[in-house]
């Protein structure tokens, strides 16, 4: 019918205009609306996933600028020094292995990001959260759930008497 408003999709039917009332069921969400909310939700989560991936990528790219970390005289053999590198949000730890050998690693466990610490009696880095162990010198996984080594900080002892961090090396 040409004069019937209900013939137009989405228009209010004539009977409803003449006898306006609202049933309780009209407030309910239809199947299609519910499905649309679900699709919008999956879209939002997909955007969140992309954002997290981009954030993760950008954090990995930040290799760090060369920076003096600690004076040789302040770090006895066998001692550790906590610092932050490459950014203030990245805890790292340095170990003086011998008179002229230093190693430094990101303090974040490669399993779920807990802080690792040095266990001199076992000569390894230990993560207390899930009992992950890493080799003290190489940072390689010795035991526990981590699947990749600790990220290493490249160091250099310079003539000015300081140990410098040159960059962060992410190992596969």
């Amino acid at each position: 019918m040409a004069d019937d408003d209900s013939a137009v999709e989405g228009a209010e039917p004539a009977w409803k205009r003449d006898f306006p009332y609202e049933a309780a069921a009209e407030e309910e969400v239809t199947r299609r609306e519910f499905a649309r909310y679900l699709v919008l939700g999956t879209g939002a989560l997909a955007i969140g996933n992309i954002g997290l991936a981009a954030w993760t990528q950008l954090r990995r790219v930040a290799g760090g600028e060369p920076r003096a970390i600690v004076a040789l005289a302040d770090l006895p053999i066998g001692a550790t020094h906590l610092f932050r590198y490459p950014t203030e949000a990245d805890p790292a730890v340095m170990l003086r292995v011998s008179e002229d050998q230093f190693v430094a690693f990101s303090q974040k466990c490669t399993h779920l990001g807990c802080v690792v610490y040095h266990q001199p009696e076992r000569d390894r880095w230990h993560c207390p959260c899930h009992k992950g162990d890493f080799d003290a010198i190489s940072g390689a996984v010795l035991s526990g759930p981590p699947t990749r080594p600790l990220d290493q900080i490249v160091l250099e002892v310079r003539p000015d008497g300081f140990v410098w961090a040159l960059g962060r090396e992410v190992k596969a």
Partner: protein, 67 residues
């Protein structure tokens, strides 16, 4: 408008598929968070790719739903 039993069944099936896809998306966001915690960029990107594919599937399913 009356809906045939077959039409009601198909729209229910689409809804169930969408709920399953939503659950998978929730799982994937936890995987992405774990990848972020451990600086696993490759895992984070592959998770994002799967998530986008799932979103595409969900949008495609919406087309099957009766208006």
């Amino acid at each position: 408008m009356r809906v045939s039993p077959r039409g009601r069944q198909s729209s229910s099936a689409v809804l169930i598929y969408l709920i399953v896809l939503m659950s998978l998306q929730l799982f994937l966001i936890t995987v992405a968070a774990e990848a972020w915690l451990t600086d696993e960029a490759a895992l984070a990107w592959s998770t994002a790719a799967v998530s986008v594919v799932l979103f595409g599937c969900a949008a495609a399913f919406l087309r099957y739903l009766r208006p």
